[in-house]
């Protein structure tokens, strides 16, 4: 039984397995949210990983959905949960906690997703760290205290802001268990918030008219020299006050690319695939058609010719070799090999992908060869053109593809192994 904790934008950056009594914990590093990711894609990918870890064994999972947009229909179609029962927990910003509790009770794996909003994510992240560090197990009062309306009660969490002393208490307890202080930073352009604590202060003056990247100031006198401070995730610019004496280990600092402000605002206010009605959507595929093709758009379900045993992906009604009538066969392995690769720059994109090309500069298109020899055209994501070569092994992941009829269309892409 493993824990896969999926939080966008930041990482629970503890690489060793931790033994939470009967539940061994393993942490997957999650990436900064890419333009083609959202809560739905993260959940699907988490499930695909779980499925590979426990082939045929997953009877039940808990799916905790935070206060975010989540397409449960797409999740179910993309995961094709034939043998696995999924218990959906939707408890607002407490979804993570509730899902984890349920999981601990029933000893089944959980997936938790949420989307970045400054306070909520901070709350969940901090508490999740606490949970996986075993803090919950030893502090029942924490849970009951919540129900009884003590200072850790639900309304408090709803506002998402800790008083400095509460936060200090929590973080002190964390430090006791992990031996280090984990500071998680995230922000959301829609939120206007200022989070302060004795340990850290994050200045986020955000809004559509003006935005600054958050500045993380470490000024806690409680962190003594020698205490490792690990800052994970997100786009914080770290400045250290002169009176800070601790050791800082910055895992993740700054956006990888120098985003001009206008581009950042455009990216956050528009879906990358959004181009509201201005360009003709040539070569139209209707929504019912797209949704009916989930077996070959969300998954790699191949067909087979019963006559000559040739298999094909994408599916085709008639066998290429002998013309026989094919039937659905199985999902092909997610592993594939790059057969050819290119990048799409200005002028080379179909209109539906124009905005994406403009925002990202380029995206990668490849033909990959699948386990049965079939090839399919697809995108390679999370990579640059110079990082990929013919023959490289790649793996299928679930991502957003484009937007049509005001609906996000999902599908598979591949990432470098």
């Amino acid at each position: 039984m493993k824990l896969i904790n999926v939080f966008p934008r930041f990482t629970l950056d503890m690489n060793e397995a931790r033994d939470l009594g009967s539940i061994p914990a393993k942490y997957l590093r999650s990436m900064k949210l890419g333009y083609d990711e959202d809560a739905t894609t993260l959940a699907v990918n988490a499930f695909l990983e779980l499925k590979e870890l426990y082939p045929g064994e997953l009877e039940e999972i808990v799916l905790g959905i935070g206060s975010c947009e989540f397409n449960l229909g797409v999740f179910l179609q993309a995961t094709a949960l034939d043998e696995t029962k999924v218990v959906v927990v939707n408890d607002g910003e407490l979804s993570g906690i509730t899902a984890m509790e349920k999981s601990f009770e029933s000893q089944i794996p959980f997936i938790v997703v949420d989307s970045p909003s400054s306070e909520d994510v901070l709350v969940d992240a901090v508490l999740s760290s606490a949970a996986v560090a075993g803090w919950f197990e030893e502090h029942d009062s924490y849970r009951t205290g919540r129900a009884e309306g003590t200072k850790y009660s639900r309304p408090r969490y709803s506002s998402g802001v800790f008083t400095p002393s509460e936060e200090a208490v929590l973080l002190r307890k964390l430090k006791k268990y992990t031996g280090e202080v984990t500071v998680l930073v995230s922000y959301d352009v829609r939120a206007k918030s200022r989070i302060n604590s004795v340990v850290h202060s994050v200045q986020c003056d955000l809004g559509f008219t003006g935005a600054v990247l958050p500045v993380l100031e470490l000024s806690n006198p409680e962190i003594n020299s020698g205490t490792p401070v690990r800052i994970v995730g997100s786009d914080a610019k770290v400045t250290l006050h002169s009176d800070f004496l601790g050791d800082v280990d910055v895992i993740y600092q700054n956006t990888p690319r120098n985003y001009p402000l206008s581009k950042y605002l455009l990216r956050r206010s528009l879906s990358p695939h959004d181009d509201p009605g201005r360009t003709p959507q040539g070569a139209y595929i209707s929504t019912p058609v797209y949704l009916s093709e989930s077996a070959s758009r969300y998954r790699l379900e191949a067909v087979i010719c019963p006559n000559c045993s040739s298999s094909f992906f994408p599916p085709r009604p008639r066998c290429k070799r002998c013309g026989g009538k094919t039937r659905p066969w199985k999902d092909l392995s997610r592993q594939a090999t790059v057969y050819s690769i290119t990048n799409i720059l200005k002028g080379a994109s179909p209109t539906e992908f124009d905005v994406l090309q403009r925002l990202e500069g380029e995206y990668l298109v490849a033909i990959v060869e699948l386990e049965n020899g079939s090839r399919v055209i697809t995108q390679i994501t999370d990579a640059d053109i110079q990082d990929i070569d013919i023959g490289d092994p790649v793996k299928m992941v679930f991502r957003k593809i484009y937007n049509q009829d005001n609906m996000e269309r999902y599908g598979y892409k591949f990432v470098k192994l």
């Binding site: 070569a283 799409i344 002028g347 179909p350 055209i377 013919i390 484009y402």
Partner: protein
């Protein structure tokens, strides 16, 4: 079996014709065709008309053929639009050949396309609809991307150098300097081609043909009719055509167009010729890699060996096998529906000694190779004296 002749062939300049309609361009092309020869052609004998066209300029998707007929003095003629993406007028020509063989005295094959009188997103609408919409387009690829994937694979399989592709652009631009109807009539250097911005790696700006407006018209005749007006007709020696999987990932190989191989096989067989008999060719170089693939698939060079030949100048105007003396799609231009019969125009000019400064000495057999999209359709025609 009676032969089919090409009686007249003409075209508008290819390029940007802002403010002109499809009708205007087609009328111009018709005039150019009728003025391409000394004898007069009795238009009343035209029995069938085949007009290649993809997007009708975004304005007349339905019934464009009838509209064009009435404006070139062919009101009432049996006419239809033929569409196979960039191979539209190649197939129009093939259908016109069949119409002659079916008993018509005269048939018209032509094409017209308006691309530059449109805003850029509309343009890319046309360019994005001829690949496999369901798979290739939803993966974010239009032709630049698809041909780039082909180029990358060809380089991987055969060690094709980037310079071989660039040389096709250099050569074709040089050829087009002497072509009054070409879109670009300035030579470009190898350095400039190699330094051009990338469109889809490894293809850069100069590896891609332009978008163009233009029209072309060819008039075909039966042997009997042709011999009435001229002693020295240009004959259609052979015709071949084929199709292939639309999505390139469904093909066994990315680096060969099986439709080209099948079409050239049929064309040569029907003419009782071999590829070595061909003196010059107009091939479908929508991207530089496409020219390289074409001269291999047609059989001028072995698979993987075209790069050396190109770099050594064997396909230049004074080379062993001149390819795209007109400037090709790259420099002459590529108004999608008009390109196929535009190639026939070049063949006609060369074979009748009317190619001006581009004239090849003593040519007897020319080949036109027209491809739809990324190889889903193809026609090959052989003309000769």
């Amino acid at each position: 079996m009676s032969k089919v002749a090409v009686l007249a062939a003409g075209q508008t300049p290819f390029g940007t014709h802002n403010g002109k309609t499809m009708k205007d361009l087609f009328v111009e092309a018709m005039e150019s065709a009728l003025n391409s020869v000394d004898y007069s052609v009795d238009l009343t004998r035209i029995k069938e008309a085949f007009i290649g066209n993809l997007g009708a300029g975004g304005s007349q998707l339905g019934n464009p053929a009838a509209l064009l007929m009435e404006h070139v003095g062919l009101h009432g003629v049996s006419a239809r639009r033929v569409e196979n993406a960039c191979a539209s007028s190649g197939f129009a020509f093939r259908d016109a050949v069949a119409a002659i063989k079916n008993g018509a005295d005269l048939a018209l094959a032509g094409g017209v396309e308006i691309m530059n009188d449109l805003p850029s997103p509309h343009q890319r609408y046309w360019l994005g609809v001829s690949g496999d919409t369901e798979w290739e387009r939803t993966a974010g690829a239009t032709f630049a991307g698809i041909y780039a994937l082909i180029a990358r694979r060809h380089m991987y399989e055969y060690g094709t150098p980037r310079e071989a592709l660039a040389m096709c652009a250099v050569k074709n631009h040089k050829n087009a300097v002497d072509n009054p109807v070409a879109q670009f009539r300035k030579a470009v250097s190898m350095e400039r081609v190699l330094a051009a911005p990338t469109v889809a790696h490894p293809l850069g700006l100069f590896d891609c043909c332009p978008t163009s407006d233009g029209a072309s018209v060819v008039i075909l005749a039966s042997e009997e009719y042709a011999k009435k007006v001229t002693d020295d007709p240009i004959w259609v020696m052979g015709s071949g055509a084929a199709s292939d999987h639309l999505a390139i990932h469904d093909r066994d190989s990315l680096t060969t167009f099986s439709a080209t191989r099948k079409a050239v096989r049929e064309a040569l067989d029907s003419a009782a010729l071999s590829i070595e008999d061909i003196d010059f060719a107009e091939v479908h170089d929508c991207f530089t890699i496409a020219e390289l693939l074409a001269i291999e698939d047609l059989g001028f060079f072995e698979k993987g060996k075209a790069s050396d030949a190109i770099l050594e100048g064997e396909t230049s105007r004074d080379g062993v096998i001149p390819i795209n003396t007109s400037g090709g799609l790259k420099a002459k231009g590529h108004p999608l529906g008009a390109t196929g019969t535009g190639q026939i125009v070049e063949l006609f000019k060369q074979l009748s000694g009317k190619a001006g400064k581009r004239q090849l000495p003593d040519v007897e057999l020319g080949l036109a190779h027209n491809v739809g999209g990324s190889g889903a359709t193809c026609t090959v025609h052989i003309l000769g004296r």
